[in-house]
Structures are given as C-alpha cells and as structure tokens.
C-alpha cells in the first residue's frame, strides 16, 4: 500500500500541473446531467462545503454512464434518476443503500407550429401515440440515460414500435439532455426533457412545454453511497456525510429553495422513505 502511495504521489508531483495539490477531503459524485445543467450543484455545494469542509467534485454524465463509472469505483456517491437501475446497482453490491432524494417531472416540449397537435394534453401515452401517428419528428436522447429509459418505457406503454420510425421520424441523438434539446429544436422535433433542465435551458427559441401533468412523467432522484466492500478506495465517511446532509432537513430545505426564474426546480421528498 505504501508503495502504491509512493508511486501515486510521485506521479502526482511529476505532472507539471501543480493543481493536483491534495485537498483535505474531497469526494467525487457521479451524477446525472440534469442536476448539474440546471445549476443545482452550484447552489447546493457551497452551502455544504461551508458547513462540512468537504469538497464535492461532480462528474456529470448520463445515468447509464454514471452507474458504470461508479461500478468501476470511480466515484464515492451516485446521484441519478432511474430507480430500477439504481436498485439493481445496490442489489449487486456496488452501493450501500438507496435513498429517495427529490423529484420533479418530465415534460414534452415542442415547436409553436405543433405538427402533431399535442399542445395542452395531459395524457402522455395518448400524446405519444399522436406524435407517432402523425410521423412528427421526435428527438430522443438514445443514450441509455435515466431520461432515455423513462422515455422508452413511455413509448412501450403507448404501444408504439420505435424500430420502424428510427432514423425516420424518431431521431436518436445519442447525447446529453442539452445537446438533444439543441438538436431537437434545430430540426423542429418534439423532445422529452426533465423540467429542471428545460426551465434553465437558454436556447428555447419558439419552443414551449406542450405535454405535462401525467403521473407517469414523475421523475424521482435517488442517492446511493458506493459500497466500500466492493471499492476499498471509496471515501465512505465523507460520501455518507454528504448523503446524510442531502436528506437532512437543512439539505432538503436547500433543495427546495433553489429557483430559476422564480420557479422551483426540484421537490425534496426524502422524508417519504
């Protein structure tokens, strides 16, 4: 172990970037993009760091990649939104315990012209069927992220066969939420996005929320410390401390207090555990 440390410190000092200076305590959170892109961390993390002295470094990638990275022990805490995958992660022994953290909802945004005529609908299955029938363009994440998994499940529930539309009206961008919104808006396609990303997104052009309010579009976020039995390198004490703070009264109040343009983006619900 000391040998490994020696090599590690030598390697660190060899890199000309002195920026690798050791910080007292810092943890890495493997996170979904929506929480980062919406600015939530920029608001939350300074509050937590002031209180605890622990620096939280966020790697924001799609839920699929975040889980994979955490399985490889490249993170101390997982904060994502795909409950079935999260439960599998814990069952497989990669994480210690999953806790509900907060929620918001998904919405379908579309152009003013509304080619499928779905504006104002609240039944998401019906809306998706209409989009498919009209053959109106729909831009999907297509990246195995939490949002993508949710979207595919909704199409299945609506009984739409995506295979036949793929590359035609159903366009899989294979990229993050923001990139997919940019692409979708560029081609005049409908896009399903989490509300937080949408509210803070700044390239809306003539797009607005057209389908919302269906219970099926509920979007639950969970937090899971990475299991030190699987990954000995995990800083479990600090990771657990941050997880505990997030679900504590102070953390939950801070989440609720975060607003963009006067709108609350995330709704804490940890107490419901």
């Amino acid at each position: 172990m000391t040998f490994a440390r020696l090599i590690a410190s030598t390697a660190a000092s060899l890199t000309l970037a002195g920026a690798v200076a050791a910080q007292d305590t810092s943890i890495i959170v493997q996170s979904t993009t929506s929480t980062a892109n919406s600015g939530l961390y920029d608001y939350l993390l300074p509050l937590y760091t002031d209180e605890s002295g622990i620096t939280v470094n966020v790697v924001a990638v799609g839920t699929g990649q975040a889980i994979k990275n955490a399985e490889n022990c490249d993170g101390d805490l997982l904060l994502v939104h795909a409950k079935p995958s999260e439960e599998k992660f814990v069952e497989a022994g990669y994480g210690t315990e999953r806790t509900d953290l907060m929620y918001n909802d998904f919405v379908i945004v579309g152009p003013e012209s509304d080619p499928a005529g779905v504006a104002g609908m609240t039944d998401v299955e019906e809306a998706l069927s209409k989009i498919a029938e009209a053959g109106a363009l729909f831009a999907s994440r297509g990246d195995d992220s939490g949002t993508h998994k949710k979207e595919v499940a909704l199409w299945e529930a609506a009984g739409v066969d995506l295979e036949s539309g793929s590359g035609e009206w159903y366009r899989e961008t294979g990229s993050g939420m923001g990139a997919t919104l940019n692409a979708g808006i560029g081609m005049g396609a409908y896009v399903m996005t989490d509300r937080a990303t949408w509210i803070s997104f700044q390239n809306k052009q003539d797009y607005s929320v057209e389908v919302e309010g269906d219970e099926a579009m509920f979007n639950q976020y969970g937090v899971i410390p990475v299991n030190p039995e699987h990954c000995p390198s995990v800083k479990i004490d600090a990771a657990q401390d941050f997880a505990d703070w997030l679900v504590s009264e102070a953390g939950q109040e801070a989440i609720a207090a975060y607003e963009v343009d006067g709108q609350q983006l995330f709704f804490p619900n940890a107490s419901g555990n």
Binding site: A8, A12, L16, N69, G176, N203, S233
Partner: protein, 241 residues
C-alpha cells in the same frame, strides 16, 4: 445570428472584468496542454529524429503507422486512458483519474504521434542536406541526431505548435478522463461543451473566442522567440566573420 455579436461583447466583458472562473479555466487549459506538449516533444522529437536517420526493414510500415496515429480520435484515447486509470483498471492505484494529471496523460498520447511524424519529415529533409557532411565528419548516429535536432529547432517549434494546437482544441479525451469538474478539471473546451448543452450559446461562443485568442497568443509568442533567436544567430554569425 445576433448570438455572434452578443458573443463578442460577452467575450470582451469576461476578459476585461477579470472573471475569476474564466482565468482559472484558461490557466488550467494552458497548464494541461503546455505540459502535454512538452512531454510529447520530449518523447516524439527523439523518436522522429531516430526514424529520420535510421534505415531498417519495416521502416515504411512504421512510418505509415505513426502517420496514421496522427488521426487518433480523442474520444478513443480518452476511453483507453479511462480504462487504464479507472480504480478498477490496471493503473487505478495511482488515483490519477479526474485530475489534471490524467488529462495531461491523455493529451500527451494524443499528440506524440503528431510530433514524431512531423519532426521525422522535417529532420529527414534536413538530413538529406547534411548527410554528406555527416559522413565526412564520421559522426555517430547519436551526434547526427543531436545536430539535426539543434539545427532544425526553428522548424521543430512549428511541430510543437501543431501538437499544442491539437491538445488545446480537443474535448473528447479530457472530458472523459477529467470529468469536467468545476474548479478542478474544467478547461476551455469542456466548459464550451457544457455551456452549449445548457443552451447558453452566446457564452459558449464567447469562450470559444477567448480560446482562439489564447491560441493566437501562444503562436505569436513562439514566433517572436523564433525571430529574436534568428536575429541573434545572424548577428553572431556576422560577428564571427
């Protein structure tokens, strides 16, 4: 289109207001890419020089391979470096992933072939001019290489700049191995990717403009170094006469 005008205005405002975050990101970009360029030159120039003066079986194949590696996709390099540096990978114990060190490693791998391939071409041409002289002086291979590297130093600066340009401009590798972590591994290109995904196109473009200006500054700096050195050399030569 109004985004572009807004971007120029924003770029100017960011720079003039001394935006601390911006300077941190610019500083890290320079630190990472310049380090990678220096290391890549330390590896690539000797390799290029050795290839320039050596003749061996399979040399053609080696040259084709190195030339082809100039087209290494950054995202593939990023992925490979990630797999090695990941905690579950063979070099995971180093704890380099998500540090500037990992970004330097990735960019170095990306540009070593560029430095080696371009310097090989430059030095081989130079060697063509010098070959007879070298033979008459009975120089060893080592002496030939050091002479070529020294006499070709101005042309090799351009080779270094090509490597730096590639390193500073890529985003695919550093976003995977660095993780684009705020105040730790966020550099210009990953910040631009992030702002684009937030839909803040004017800010993304403004950062792009700043990046271009930095590249311009580095190139101008090297050019000035080159000119003043060339001037001194010609004075020196004149004095010797």
């Amino acid at each position: 289109m109004q985004d572009i005008g807004e971007a120029f205005h924003l770029a100017l405002t960011l720079v003039l207001s001394g935006d601390a975050d911006l300077f941190e990101i610019v500083g890290l970009s320079l630190q990472v890419s310049l380090s990678a360029t220096l290391i890549a030159c330390a590896i690539g120039l000797p390799v290029g020089a050795l290839l320039a003066v050596s003749r061996f079986r399979g040399r053609g194949a080696v040259l084709v391979m190195i030339n082809a590696l100039m087209g290494l996709p950054p995202v593939v390099v990023g992925l490979l470096v990630y797999l090695y540096l990941s905690r579950s990978g063979p070099l995971g114990f180093l704890g380099l992933l998500y540090t500037p060190g990992a970004m330097i490693v990735a960019q170095t791998i990306l540009i070593v072939p560029i430095v080696a391939a371009l310097s090989r071409q430059v030095l081989e041409d130079l060697h063509g001019e010098y070959a007879e002289q070298f033979r008459s002086l009975c120089l060893s291979r080592w002496q030939s290489i050091t002479t070529l590297l020294w006499d070709g130093r101005y042309a090799l600066m351009t080779v270094g700049l090509a490597g730096f340009g590639r390193a500073a401009a890529e985003v695919g590798a550093v976003i995977i191995v660095g993780g684009n972590i705020d105040h730790l591994t966020r550099v210009m290109t990953t910040a631009i990717a992030l702002e684009t995904s937030k839909g803040d196109l004017p800010l993304a473009l403004a950062l792009g403009i700043v990046l271009l200006v930095i590249a311009l500054g580095v190139n101008a700096g090297v050019q000035m170094l080159r000119m003043s050195a060339a001037k001194q050399a010609s004075y020196g030569a004149a004095a010797n006469v």
